[in-house]
Symmetry: C2
Amino acid sequence: MKHSKLVTKPLTREAFSQFGDVIEIDGSQHYSINEGAVERYHDLANLDIDDGGRAIISFFKINHTKTFPHKFNLMERHPKGSQAFIPMFNAPVVIVVAPKGESFSSSNLQAFATNGKQGFNFKAGVWHMPLISDVKDRLFVVVDRSGPGENCDEVSLENETIELTLA
Amino acid sequence: MKHSKLVTKPLTREAFSQFGDVIEIDGSQHYSINEGAVERYHDLANLDIDDGGRAIISFFKINHTKTFPHKFNLMERHPKGSQAFIPMFNAPVVIVVAPKGESFSSSNLQAFATNGKQGFNFKAGVWHMPLISDVKDRLFVVVDRSGPGENCDEVSLENETIELTLA
């Protein structure tokens, strides 16, 4: 069994651009509406839903607690649509991604930690680790795809475990 | 100048059904994903975006403070798409709506107060009061439409003010 190590780095638009969008107020285009009563931070994620599907809003509720270092070897992808996550809490979230492609390897994984005020939108087909949290019952707003066909592929690394730690 | 009074009632799916969706966990369809690690509360709003537009995610940040009773006479609608609001805070939100149609009158307004854990999705064309809050800098996740054409109509009641109070 091979053991690989992976360490988080801060989530930024630049570092994450090949995987998707960072959904955050800082640095976003914005303008006033309702005669200045409300500021609109506009169009923060590229919702890429295939023609046969439609965008939907869901809540994801965390039903576990994970501690670091976190060991895993399974990733998933949604080939037919993007998937956006917006945390409903003010605490960092750790994500692991790998570029689009038929599979992934431990050599092309990247781990990011949000600053506690960021959401993220995975491009269609981008590999990502299933959602983890150190606190149970946390909520995320999720905007992703509903529609016909299989839209979740899972792949495990064989004879290999990744050990994920916080920077 | 005519003065009309309007009092909030609790936001429920039944009471709100002609105006749109209540986005909440209570009573929603849900199922486990990721081998039970996450519970998915699935497809909570009917995102109705016209063919020329696309669904987008934005943040709205409150840039005012309102107190009750709140006086207003202006409502708005978005004829080309639904508009979903999910508060990023745990406190009631007060909304006022009127049915779809060319205009509205003080006689067909209804006011609702959320329970602090609810979002709401206005159907395309439903009249609603601009967003109000008693606390500045509060954030909402908004999923609505981007696309060509005018998609915000505003109408004021002439010689009439509505006085909105909490139940």
